[in-house]
Symmetry: C2
Subunit: 337 residues, 2 copies
DNA sequence: TTGTAAGCGTTATCAA
DNA sequence: TTGATAACGCTTACAA
């Protein structure tokens, strides 16, 4: 459809391509008012639009970054993406979004495709299983930032929740409200999922610090779909927990489903706290006390950090930015006496 | 960082660039096993990766589409985007995502930037206020699909919910369960927001068909933030509604907030139904009866339709694809006698 | 079966 | 103040 090129404009304006190029790049200094006008008019008349691809080829920069996420439907992802897009928008950059769906093979393919497309940088919510791929990027000093998770063995600027603090916050809040039989609810632990590990470790440490013993029965590690049943089993056993700490929104859903299927009362019989602020926290009964991630700040920071790398190619030591969780005090926990 | 080019590979393999190009494009037919191997090895050795930008310049196709949405945080958006990404992934295409934030100026700027970047097509969740921009694209026969909303006056393939049917579904379900004082809850009506208008019209028509009169008091059109207060005012007046139809998830939130701030019982005092399936529908008490949009199918269809346009440049009459809403029967409505 | 050379639409260098 | 001309890295006739 669109075929009008710089040459056409040049011809119509009776100047050379180079002059048009000057004009487009606002190097007006040595340009007569006269030609400037003629070019402007020619552009207008032809409805000319520069071809960014051609420019990119020459300038070796595309004003585009790639983002690879492991779960597009997750709320954290949505919100961080929103912030990334906004930051890029400010700088005139575009964002290509790819969904690895937690599949390392896809993730790897995407990295390569995006590099082939000459993106200027990459923000990745990593699956955690492509060490060599990322290590290679680091060696090449390719601009790269991790978000949410990190890849063991790869040193890269990373933006993460302070997971230890979040777990500690949960335990402390529960403990200070008089709860003493606290169970943690999470998907099965796997080494490559760093936040999960950290939240679990944070929990264990906080419990010990408080002088609680962590009963093996109170580590409920099962995939969210099986959670309601697993919880029922647990609650059939003695020494029921009186508080549940769900390490993310998905496990929270499992917990709430369980609660709904039983006659347990929250917070009378059971206190609930979780990481990730969910949109219905305020309208649920009781209103849910949660530990929110500052998703917007995290996305902003990740983008800013990527641009630091893009602008000054030589980068210093990679830094890990830990964002403090935010306690949203509502009513799913009540002081117990 | 990456500087190895086809010429380097050619040199190392002792062949010409064209031969390497043949190889890369899998035109092996007239290539000796011998050279093939040499090229493969040279590529391997140098870690060569083709520069897609250069290819795009020549081939006039970027294997990239642009998507402009008016609200990145909306669940519908997230889910449709997910489907779009997946469909594109299958075809080896990438997706550039832009957020117009319902600002027509931004939307317009994005359209132009994406065209400059030579995207092969555009999927837009339109603000509804850029008629000329889109009209121009249509004239140029540029591949374009609208999702969720349409732009009055622009004839383009569009993927939308069957909003009339959705509204009718709500009224019918409520009526058949014995509710007779049904109120509709929605943001203020504006002409460029087609789905909103359609849902409202659908409601009005369905009510009339059922022989109900639509009391002006039962059209609660106010921005979601003010909704709880507005509803309180309404419920202070006589002839309270006994059922509420919220036209989307955001207004639903307003309704639920209102319910929470009062002592109204759902579904005893008040039945609730809404468009958009919300993730907590199942765990809310009572479980929420909703009218879901088939978001995944919609995203898939939009993408397929875009590729139809991309592949056969001459397109027939634009089509509007209306997707049927899906009633998710839960317990926020109970038979009334 | 492989190589030469001419583009693709810009930008950049250097003359004029 | 403006214009030739050579890149940028790849594809593609056409030749050899």
């Amino acid at each position: 459809m669109k075929k009008v090129t710089m040459a056409d404009v040049a011809k119509l304006a009776n100047v050379s391509k180079s002059t048009v190029s000057q004009y487009l790049n606002k190097r007006y200094e040595y340009m007569s008012e006269e030609t400037r006008k003629r070019i402007a008019q020619a552009i207008e008349e032809l409805g000319y639009q520069p071809n960014v691809i051609a420019r990119s080829l020459k300038q070796k920069t595309t004003a585009t970054i790639g983002v690879i996420v492991f779960n597009m439907l997750h709320m954290l992802t949505t919100q961080v993406l929103h912030a990334i897009e906004e930051e890029c928008q400010k700088r005139g950059f575009h964002v290509i979004i790819c969904n690895s769906n937690d599949d390392p093979e896809k993730e790897k393919k995407y990295v390569n495709m995006l590099l082939a497309k000459q993106v200027d940088g990459l923000i990745v919510f990593p699956t955690g299983k492509n060490e060599e791929v990322y290590r290679h990027l680091v060696e090449e000093r390719f601009p790269l930032v991790f978000v949410d998770r990190m890849v063991p063995g790869v040193e890269v600027d990373s933006v993460l929740l302070d997971n230890f603090k979040a777990a500690e916050m949960a335990v402390d809040y529960l403990a200070s409200h008089g709860y003493d039989r606290i169970a943690i609810v999470l998907p099965p632990l796997v080494a490559y999922n760093v936040p999960r590990m950290e939240r679990f470790e944070g929990f264990r440490i906080a419990m010990e610090k408080r002088g609680f013993v962590v009963d093996e029965n109170n580590i409920i590690a099962v995939t969210p779909a099986l959670l309601p049943d697993e919880l029922k089993k647990r609650f059939a056993k003695p020494e029921r927990p009186n508080a549940l700490f769900a390490i993310n929104d998905l496990t929270l859903m499992g917990v709430l489903r369980f609660v709904k299927e039983t006659d347990i009362c929250v917070p009378e019989d059971l206190a609930i706290i979780n990481i990730d602020d969910v949109p219905f926290a305020d309208i649920y009964t009781p209103r849910l006390t949660t530990i929110a991630q500052p998703t917007f700040s995290m996305g902003k920071k990740a983008t800013e950090q990527l641009f630091v790398q893009i602008e000054q190619k030589r980068k210093g030591k990679p830094r890990v930015f830990r964002f403090s969780p935010i306690l949203k005090e509502r009513t799913s926990i009540r002081r117990k006496d």
